[in-house]
Structure formats: C-alpha cells, structure tokens
Amino acid sequence: MHGHFTPELKRRTLLKMLAIGAAATTLSPATRAWAASTLNILNSNTAWAGALTGGVAKAYTGAQITGEGNPYEAHYEKLLIELSQGSSTFDIFTTDNLWIRQPLRNGWASAFEDIRAEDASLPEISVGKLAPASTTYTEYDGKRWGLPLVMTTPVFVYRKDLFEKAGITKVPTNWDEYRDAAEKLHSDDVAGNVLLLGGQDAHMSGDWGSRLMGMTKIAPNDDGVLDENNKVVFNSEGQGARAIERLREVLPFTPKGVEGFDYAEGSSIMQQGKAAMMITWSDVIVGIEDGPFKGKFGYTVSPTEKFEQQMVGGWSILINAASENKAEAYKFLKWMSEGQAYELFRENGESSLCLQADIDNPEIVAKVPMLQAFRDFPARGTTPVSIPPYRLTNAVEVQRVLYENILAGVNGRKTPQQAMEDAEAALASVIRT
C-alpha cells in the first residue's frame, strides 16, 4: 500500500517544481532585463568582424555583445534566410554594401528615425566622423538605416622591388602603362599580374568593374552598370566590351591556374611573391605583409582609362526590424558612431578604415598602407562611384549574370561585344525595378 510520499510521487512533484521554477525564472523581470541587455550580431569573419565581437564588445558596457562569424557566402545565405523569415535571433546584422538594398527594400531593417520616434529619449546619431563616401549606402528613402563599418575600394598592389629591378620608374596610372608593366615584369618565376577569374565578385567587380569605371563619364547617380532608373548602361558606348579587352590583353601575364583564382588565392600568390601586381578590393588583400616580402608592396589607386572614377564599397551595420532590443541596438550604434569602435577595428588589423580622422592622419596611413589609396583620391581627382549593382534587391543574381558573360568574353568563348550583348539580354528578365 502506497503512502502519501512515495518515491514516485516525490519524483513527479520535484519535476513539476523544477518546471515551475524554470518558467518563473524565464519570465521574471531580472531574466528579461538580462536578455534585453544582450545584443546578438549576425557577423562576417573578417578582421573588423573579429574586432566587433572581440575588442568592441569588451569596450562597450551598455550591453553584452555576442555574434557568430560566417564566411562571405554563408553570411549572405544566413542573412537572407534569417531576415526574410522575420527571425529575431539577431538584433543587429552586418552586410556587404552590395546586398544592402535587399534588407532596406524588404523592410528587414529599422531606420534610426523610426526607432527614435518610438523612444524620444534616444540621442541622435551623427555620421560626421566617418568618411562621407562610406555613409551613402546607409541612406535610403530620406532616412539613415545604419552605419558603415569599413570603406573599400579596388587597390592596386604592386611589388616596389620588382618595379625597381625592371626599371619601371612610374607606377601605372592607365591601362596601357599597366599592360606594358605586366609584360615587362612577367617571367617564369613571377607572373606580371593576377586576375581573379574564379570568383564571381572578384572578377565581375574587382577585375572588370575597375576597368569599366574609367571608360566613360558616369553620371552622379549612376554606378557604371545601371543608371539611376536601373536601366543597363554598362555597354552604352562599348565600354563593357572594352573592359573585357583590357582584361584579355593582360591574361597572358597571369600565373598558372588563374582560371580558378578567387580572393584567397590572389592574396596568397602575392604573399608568396609569385606575382608582381594585383588590383582587387582593399578588404580582401589579406596577409600579404605577413609573408617574406613584407614592406616591399606599394598601394595606390587602380589605374584608369579616361576618367578618374573608382568604386567605393564596404560593409555596413544595421538594426534588425524584428529585433526585440531595437533601443539597445540603437544605443550601441550611437556609441560606435563616436569613433572608439573604428579605432578598435584598426588595432585589430583592419585596413579598410572609414574614420575620417584615420584617413587624414599621416602616421596612421604610414602604418596602414592600404589607406594610401584613399589618400591618392584627392591627388588624382578621383570621383567615388557606388559599387554596381548595389541598388537592386537581387544584386547577387545580376552580378552572377554579368560574371558568367564577362568570363566567357575573357576566356574567348564569346567575343567581348557578344558577351556584353548576351549579358544585356539576360539581364532584361532578371532586373526587377
């Protein structure tokens, strides 16, 4: 016969009490307050991304900052899946500026003005300390939607010692000089230059885009590929085909295996000293100064054809519209805008800096050679151009179409003109305005 306090009863009672306790803890104001003071960031895995959840997280005392780092493509996938489903897992997300219109157009991010409208006690965020070219991407529909994290541009990296050895006294500033230098520098041991044919972003924007930019006069609100009405203009005067021809003329002076090269392979081959020149985005030139040729690299603005125009891209940080901690996220971004976070990025090894004070500081430029490219902008009279085709919601898809046709033109499967015509035809059904 069982008494009132049998082992079976005791176990059930204990489990019930534990469940009640867990529920009470979760719902208690203290727990909610703790959860509210944690900000989760959907992050990339670059130097600044590491600093964001490292040094920046330590320095910021208003909330606990957590985040997960994702490689580039995985980051895009996760961003799209999480935000499109209205997930509140992440309070803040970082995004390549190429993709930025997607969250803005789809209502996945919250504007600063809208957050302040809900909480008037929040101070205004100013972007005055940041380079003006870096802040344009987070402006949309008359509102500010986030902050820039880094500002990037295609940088021309070259081996100063090899230039000297080859008797090249002037750093190429146009594509004729670049081609001549590539031929002069090319040997069995060291390739004259590197192209990144294996990467969609690397080849379409880093290789082809950097050639395209200087071909024609780009109107203020155009990006060289599309005009402000999202009409394709990349071959309006044959400039797209010409850019492919410029790539084909330096293809013989590239290393073996260049067909499969993406950003990582490009940096690696420069670091190993197996190539003399490369033009690619500043934030993907990683580790070349850590190799045996440290200090032997020069950095400057990419050469051009007729017009001094260069793409300026980067990454931005925005607040998830589905976040339950928007006010806290806003406060974090306010703290970031004051500058300390960007200094911590620099200290963590990031070179694509967007704090204006860093770009203007000769001592910092001396330590961060990549900034020399931005210093050369005013000297060369370079006009910044937004990265194409960032204004489209499906920018990645449009970039893919362009990449496939550009590659066909560079590899000789199509003539450059045919490649551009095919790209225009394919984009007609892909671009949604």
């Binding site: 073996k256 190993q272 499906n394 590899n411």
Partner: protein, 315 residues
C-alpha cells in the same frame, strides 16, 4: 438466473481469439507508426512542399510573398542551357567515375582474396578514404593540387614531370575531381565486391581448375557471372551517389574553373542558395530527380537486376 449468468465458453474463447488476432494485426502498424510519422514529416512533406514551391515564383530575396505560376518554371528549365550542360557533365562524371571505381574495386577484391601476410591490415587501410568526411577530402586534395605550392607537383618534379594544372585549369579540372572521387569511393565498392567474392561457393572454381581453365578464363566464365548480382548492386549504389556528388567538387573547384566542373548539384546549390530563386530551383530539383530515376531504371533494365533478384529468391 444461473442459466442467464452462465458464460458461453466456446463463444467467449472464439471472441477472445478474434480479439487477440485483431490485436496481433494492429501490432505491426503500431510499431511502425513512429517511423512512418517521422518519415512523413522529414521526408514526404518536404518533398511535396518543394513540388508546390516549384509551381510558384517564390524568391525570398524579394520578401515572403509569392504567386502561383503553374509550370512556368519547368518551361524555363527546358530552355536553360546551363542546366542541361550541368546534367551532361554530371552524367559524364558519373559514368567515368563509377567505371574507374568498379574496375579498381574488382581488381583489388581479386588481389585481396588471396591469403597473404599483411593483407588483412592492408585491407583495413584501404578503407580509410571512404571514412573521411568529404569536406576534409576536398580541402586536402585542393591543397595538394595547387599548381605552384601543392605536394603533387612537387613529387612529379622529382621524377622530371613538369607542373600540371590539376583542378586549376578547365582542361584538367574534371579529371582532377574524378580522381578524387575514385580515390574516396573505390573502397566502398571494394568492400561490397570483396564480401561477395568471399561468399562465392568453392566448387565451381575447383571444377574449373580440374578442367584446366586458366586465371582469365576462370575469372570471365566463373567468377564474373557469379559475382554479377553483387557488382550490379555496388554499381547501382555508386551511380546514385556519384550523381549527387557535391561536397568535394564544391570545395575543390566551386564548379569552376570556367564551369568545367559545374555539376548538377553545384548548379542547383547556386540557384537555390546563392540566387535564392527557390521556385525555379525546386523545379530544377524535381527534373533532376526524374533524370536520376530514369538513369536507375535504364540501369536496372540493362543489367537485368530484377531478374537477378527474382532468381536469387527462387533458389
């Protein structure tokens, strides 16, 4: 009262038997129910949902709203040159990879069917490639195949062979990924064929020896016919597996260079999870499924697989 209260024993016994039989009949269903429920939730439902999605223009790039567009995605697929190029490439990859794996597996099985010192240990080492996760295989081979820094070209240079491009050139990339695939999955076919070889009866071989048949004649007329069912099974499994190869190829070449290794799985990944055109991607996936089913059906018919199974059951 006693009479009305009397229990009709035979009727009760019959009823009890019926109840037991009814219970016995429902027991298998009840025991299988959890598995069937899980299979329906994680297998059948997603399959049917993807079929539905394939009839829409769902693309989360543009938000979560979408429309029903009927068979427009399927019509688009038939004009998609890149898709059919990937299908052709995948068929070629599968055919070459499986043929090479099968040949090597049979030769290895014959070799290890002999009792020699150390063969047991060697046989174990032979299985290692198929135990390694495909991503690790891809990363390792990609590094080994680097034209300037990879160990393969270094070893070749020691014997005077000039550097090969391996996976870095469109002309050799497909052969390179086939090499990796054969390296990794030959042990899988080997283990199946070897087990089959070991289970063959000895008497036909003894009879062949008595009749004076040589090794080749014995292999062609005795071993191969008896081993056919096992070879067919191993090949069928390998064909289905090779058709959906993704990890190693993506890690090594990402479908390049210049689409030289843009297999169907890589193309589907790009459409579904890079461009996120899930409606179109789902339609392509269903077409790919039909293609695989057709390949399997053709294979089953050509090899007489069903007849082999029937013959075995009748023995």
């Amino acid at each position: 009262m006693a009479k009305s209260g009397t229990i009709n024993a035979p009727a009760l016994q019959l009823g009890a038997t019926k109840a037991v039989r009814a219970g016995e009949k429902s027991v298998p269903t009840l025991l299988l129910a959890p598995t069937m429920i899980i299979m329906t939730i994680v297998g059948l439902y997603p399959l049917l949902h993807s079929l539905y999605i394939s009839l829409t223009n769902y693309n989360p790039t543009f938000g979560t709203s979408y429309s029903f567009i009927g068979f427009a995605n399927y019509a688009r697929a038939f004009g998609d040159g890149q898709f059919w190029y990937s299908v052709g490439l995948t068929l070629a990859f599968t055919a070459i990879s499986v043929a090479l794996s099968l040949t090597l597996a049979v030769l290895l099985a014959l070799l290890f069917n002999q009792y020699r010192f150390g063969f047991v240990v060697l046989r174990t080492f032979l299985l290692i490639p198929m135990l390694i996760t495909p991503i690790a295989v891809g990363i390792t081979w990609r590094t080994m195949m680097m034209p300037d820094l990879g160990v393969l070209n270094y070893l070749l240079s020691l014997i005077g062979v000039s550097h090969l491009s391996w996976a870095s050139s469109p002309s050799s990339a497909l052969a390179s990924v086939i090499l990796v695939d054969v390296w990794q999955w030959t042990p899988f076919m080997f283990i199946i064929i070897f087990a089959g070889l070991r289970s063959l009866p000895k008497s036909p071989f003894e009879a062949a020896a008595i009749d004076g048949a040589g090794h080749l004649a014995t292999f062609m007329n005795v071993t191969l016919p008896m081993l056919k069912p096992v070879i067919v099974i191993a090949t069928l499994l390998r064909v289905v597996d090779a058709f959906r190869t993704y990890d190693t190829v993506y890690i090594i070449t990402r479908g390049g260079p210049d689409f030289a290794t843009d297999l169907l799985s890589v193309y589907l990944q790009r459409v579904n999870f890079r461009i996120f055109d899930l409606g179109y991607g789902s339609a392509l996936s269903w077409i790919a499924l039909v293609i695989v089913l057709v390949v399997v059906l053709v294979f089953v018919n050509l090899t007489g697989f069903l007849k082999l199974v029937a013959d075995k059951e009748n023995r």
